[in-house]
Each structure stands twice: as C-alpha cells, then as structure tokens.
Symmetry: C2
Subunit: 224 residues, 2 copies
C-alpha cells in the first residue's frame, strides 16, 4: 500500500486504494495512531475505534461513554443472537448484514404508531416503544435518532420494566439529545444497565449501528 | 416551550419536549444562532443548517462545499422527481419518505455486483456503478459511504459519461474520503457539475441523505 508520495490524487487519473480489506486495515492503523486508547480494554478499544471510523472524527473519542460491562455484554448478546430493537430504519440498515443472523426490529412505520403518537401528543419514535415492551428482556436496544425514544425507554425501566442486555443510545441533535444521553449514563449507574453512548450533541444512526457492528465483529473474533 | 430553567432533566421524572414540530423548530432556531450563514442564499442556508442538524456539530459549517448552482439544481431535480442513485442502502433509508414520490435506487446488493467486484479487484461500491450508467443523465447521485464510488463516478464523467443534475458526495473516513471530495470539488469546476460536499474526513450516509432532504423540503416550500 502506498498512501504517501502521491503527486495529486484529486486530479485525473486518480490514484486510490481499491481493495476493501486494505482500506479497512489502513483506516484502523491511522485511527490507532491518532487516538488515545489508554484505559480501555482491547475489546473496548475496538468499539471506540469503530465509532471514530464511522464519523471520521477522532475528537469523538473524548465523548464516548462505555459502562463497565457494556462491551462484554454486547459481545455475549451478539453470540446469543439477541433481539435487536431500533428506533429508526436507518439504524437497521447500518448493521453489517453478513454478521447478523436475524433481522433487526423497528416499529416506527408500524400502522398503529402514528395514531398512538397523535392521541398522546408525542413523537412517533416514543409511541413505537409500546411495541418494544414484550421484547425488551435481554434485547439490544439501538437508539440513534430520537432523544424522546431514549427518555421513554428510561421511563419504562424506571417504572420496573424489563432490562435490555445492552443499550446503545446515541441520539443526535440540539433539543434533548445531550440531556437524554446524560440521563442514560445516570440510569446506567442507578439501575446497573449496560450502556454505550456519546456525550453531547453528536451522534446518529451510523454511530449507533457501528457500535453494534463492532460487537458483532468481536463475537466472531475479528479485530483491527 | 421552556428549554431553560429546568431543575435537572437527567434524573426522573424527565422533563423534555415531546412535540416533533416544536423539536424541529427549536433545533433550527439554535442552529441559526450558532452558525455563521453569511454569504449563503436563504436556500443554501437551509441545506447547510440541515447538515448541522444531522450531525449535531456546528463546526461542520466550515467544511461545507456548495457549487454555485447546486442547491437550485437540487430543488429543480426534486420538483422533477429525478432518479436517485445511492451508493449504500443506508442513504436510501435516510431520505424523508413522505416527500419522496419514487423509491431511490441502490445496486450494492445486486446479485451481479460481488462477482464483478471480485473480477476487477475493486470494492463492491465501485462495481455497483456499472448499473448506474443508463440512469445517470439528470439523476441525483447520493454517495455517503464509499470514496471509491465517488472516484469511479468522476472517472466515468471524465471519460465523457452523462452528467447527473446534482452530485451529493459526502463519503466519510480515513482512506480516500477527503481526497475523493477534493476531486469532486475540482471536477465540479472543470466540468461545470452541480455538487454538494463536506471537505475533510467527516461525512456519511446521514449527512448525504439530509442534504437531499433539505432540497426536497425546499421544493415543497418548507423552510426553517
């Protein structure tokens, strides 16, 4: 691989790496060089590096939250083929299909959800969690878009609802996102929940999916 | 709406905005206050603000590239219900469904693509562009993941291929992403292409989809 001493890759004929495995290996080599992984286990470092890989921004490292047993629980849940509950379709479509035995679930477009949301005067993302209740125990929850969904999940758990095996809660945005993630981090402590998050406004479906993709890879012995 | 004078929103009972319209309006109010939109038309500002909204990071403003007629072409293409060509499924699933008349296309999982990629020793994302050729004229291209797909697209155009109405090229990552986007920006100048991008490593499916979502909204007269 030659990534240096190019003349000008931005004018044709372009010179660029075309081998997908080489691209992934070189990406992680660069990420490892750019990021401070001190204090993380090797498994945790794999998750953190995949988050950096997904957003292209090493500064996200500073905001990553991993509860003590989160990554180990994730690897175990991946090995158990746990039920996956997603807040939006985009998270579902960000999961690495070849490592995934069963289809992830998302109820946002379920026919009953819009009416329920309207009745209650709340977001569809919140209303969709009604459908999660029977599935919650030992599931993996993936919330990448809606702070309201994360708040509702925590309300359900606070009221004695079942606990997921792992909550990956990385909603994005300006209204409620940072607060919902701080609430997750506090609840993880209070209720001994396994949680992965990114503090602050940054987040999204891709980051959320990628944290789970890292667990999937680790459960299959794949490391970078 | 009260977003200030809360006591502590991170411990239950949580206090948070549940109305989806109020959330969106307040988000854009905050983004407008945080970002310098000088030099942008009001339509361009809508696109830039939606990119910020999607990643939760106002610092992305500095890296946004909009060619001169990009946003106007996007609004026109949205009104024309242009064919949408996506590099990955995740981009497709990030599009605002209710504003979209026809299904976007993605050929990454087309049965012929893996074999073609293997034969040529290139990524599946690149090989999938073979299927784009007959659709390229007046299409809107959405590349949110693979720098190799963006390079291949530019190679096709350099070799006299048809021009899309708009290229939204915002791949993410450490190997080739920044270079592919600089190549897009140079090609936009050289071939009078309409292009939207984000310089540097940052990018992704969500940002790519959201730039198009902004054009969709503008074509329907929706502004924040």
């Amino acid at each position: 691989m030659t990534f240096d001493n190019r003349t000008d890759v931005t004018t044709p004929p372009y010179e660029y790496e075309k081998d997908p495995h080489a691209i992934e290996v070189e990406s992680f080599r660069q990420i490892r060089a750019l990021c401070n992984l001190e204090g993380l286990t090797e498994e945790e470092a794999q998750v953190a590096m995949r988050l950096v890989h997904t957003c292209g921004d090493p500064s996200i490292m500073d905001d990553i939250f991993l509860s003590k047993k989160a990554v180990q629980s994730g690897i175990q849940a991946a090995a158990n083929d746990a039920t996956l509950l997603c807040d939006v379709e985009m998270v579902k479509h960000g999961l690495t299909r070849r490592f995934q035995n069963s289809e992830a679930l998302c109820f946002l477009n379920h026919p009953e959800v819009p009416e329920l949301a309207k009745q209650r005067g709340e977001t569809r993302s919140m209303a969709a969690l009604e459908m999660w209740k029977p599935q919650l125990k030992d599931s993996v929850v993936l919330i990448g878009n809606a702070p309201t969904a994360l708040f509702r999940l925590l309300e359900m758990i606070n009221q004695g609802g079942e606990k997921p095996a792992l909550i990956i809660g990385i909603p994005v945005g300006f209204v409620g996102a940072a607060e919902s993630k701080e609430a997750l981090i506090e609840a993880a402590e209070a209720h001994d929940l396994n949680a992965i998050s990114v503090r602050g406004r940054r987040g999204g479906s891709a980051l959320t999916a990628s944290a789970w993709n890292a667990c999937l890879r680790l459960s299959r012995g794949i490391r970078f």
